[in-house]
Symmetry: C2
Subunit: 340 residues, 2 copies
């Protein structure tokens, strides 16, 4: 892992020179509903009742991505920031306690930045369920996030904030946990194939990208690289939770793509993460046997303690971003050194 960057650098009050800012919806398809009953509805106070026929054509299974392009990027390819399960692209914006998010930190480091809202959440929108999205939406309760994201150890949740017991010296901004949970998104478990398809369309239309993916998003990052290897120039997997279920021969297209896994603290004592990390490290070993470079940062082993699953919101989030920037530069993807 590269040495610590100067933590004061990205705080410099230098304006970002932005060339273009905007967004796009990609992927998805047109689909029809028939046979549902019509009804009347008032859309705005003071407005008249109008007939609503719920049948018709709809756009479904699309995704959303916003972009900020710099006038003179230092990075050779734009970053695509891919959120995890039950979340959306807000993961990478301002932290819940109001510090610069990775979006702004990586812009200041000279990267064009795209942020995705994957299918079914955030600005990607969602489709009628169960007619289009099978099953039912799953809402993550706060106590599950508290333990799954390793803010506190199993059993440490309490409904009253003052009585919760976070990990000692956690780097997560615990006082902003409620604010963080305002970002939570319902999810379905039926949309993985459509999500991978929409991400593939994003890569095809707007790549090549360097991917920074989080948790469930890492599965889609590897799927994108398998489907469009020329459109993916690196994968930074932040606490990956899954990977494509393909055989070793199918992994060959990934051999030229540098990859990095980053792990926070307190995984070994956790009932799920203690199972997940060995599986992901076995996947990394298979990638290496194909010829890929796959680095692995166990942050506590490198002397950085207290990171939660939400590394990009922890109190050392900017330092971690700048370490990742340095790693990308080491792979030849960014001009050295970072601009002041």
């Amino acid at each position: 892992m590269p040495p610590l960057a100067d933590p004061g650098r990205a705080q410099a009050p230098v304006a970002l020179a932005v060339r273009r800012i905007g967004s796009a919806h990609v992927g998805g398809r047109s689909a029809s509903l028939q046979g549902l009953p019509a009804r009347q509805i008032v859309y705005s106070p003071g407005g008249p009742a109008v007939d609503l026929d719920p049948n018709g054509q709809f756009q479904i299974e699309q995704m959303y991505a916003q972009f900020v392009q710099l006038q003179k990027p230092r990075a050779h390819h734009p970053l695509l920031l891919m959120h995890g399960g039950g979340m959306c692209g807000v993961t990478y914006e301002t932290t819940p306690d109001g510090r610069s998010g990775w979006q702004e930190v990586f812009l200041r480091a000279g990267h064009d930045v795209w942020i995705a809202d994957a299918l079914e959440r955030g600005r990607a929108s969602w489709a009628r369920s169960p007619e289009f999205f099978a099953g039912e939406p799953v809402f993550r309760p706060m106590h599950e996030a508290w333990e799954l994201f390793r803010i506190g150890p199993p059993g440490s949740w309490h409904a009253h904030a003052q009585q919760r017991q976070p990990h000692a010296r956690t780097r997560f901004p615990v006082h902003a946990f409620e604010t963080f949970m305002k970002q939570a998104m319902p999810r379905w478990t039926c949309n993985d194939a459509a999500t991978a398809s929409a991400y593939g369309e994003l890569a095809r239309l707007h790549g090549p990208f360097v991917l920074i993916a989080h948790s469930q998003g890492c599965n889609f990052a590897w799927a994108m690289a398998l489907a469009h290897p020329q459109q993916v120039r690196a994968i930074v997997a932040i606490e990956p939770s899954g990977f494509p279920q393909v055989d070793d021969a199918a992994l060959a297209p990934l051999r030229g793509i540098p990859q990095l896994m980053v792990w926070g603290d307190h995984l070994d004592g956790h009932p799920l993460w203690s199972q997940l990390r060995p599986r992901l490290r076995a996947f990394a070993q298979r990638l290496r046997q194909c010829g890929a470079r796959v680095d692995d940062w166990d942050l506590p082993g490198l002397g950085v303690h207290g990171n939660s699953h939400m590394l990009m919101m922890d109190d050392n989030s900017e330092d971690l971003a700048l370490r990742i920037d340095r790693w990308l530069a080491d792979q030849g993807l960014v001009t050295q050194p970072a601009r002041p």
Copy 2:
């Protein structure tokens, strides 16, 4: 209405000098569910099944807003762009056919720009229904949007794009109608009070703002101004569809806030819009009787023909934004002239 701005101006390849970019969630509350059955779920392919207890505490009824702040804004207050019903803040980003959205156009004209995703949609997320959001979500079919947004006249919809009959010389980018519909959001009809409350919190924490609101969003703009008159410095109501149901005396706080209504084409022949505009103009007259300045731009009457309900996506969207910028300057809210 001010004269036409130079349409080539905002195309100049001058970088935006951006000071800060990010977002915030505001408003909402903590709420609990009990008594629902637990079940098992696999979150990512390759991951183990884990128990999901759907009961617990949740954050509900919050909203989202993203911001881009300029190094040296020309406007005295940030703009807050408020979307309409069944949509989210993407309304104001890149147009469906790929031109700069009002977000970028107003940034180039020297305004800090905030964009809201109101409660229940986009990055605001949504809460379990019907437990928290009463009733059921409403999904707008494409044929309804085609007619309600006046892309084509009543009866002109056809499932096959080639056989749809838009208004002659419509300014909406008809070939991108399917892409536009990827932005559509499900909505409930039970959340108006909570939405107004969250917008009020946004005004209180991050205002004062100049509001540009669209359609259903105008109702929330006026509600925000009634609740926090010191936090609202102007209201630009783009094709408003409703207004707060209060008596004349309650409108007094709005007397010092300059207001503008903007209307596109083809309203008189439309079954809903032909009813709505007279109601809104009667509301404007009540505001004037309180002493407020309320201007009214009927675009066809001013020689600008062919605008749809989605003015900010029509082919003259940039010109309309610059006319609004000029109107804001005339109200003393922007330093003259616009920066090149």
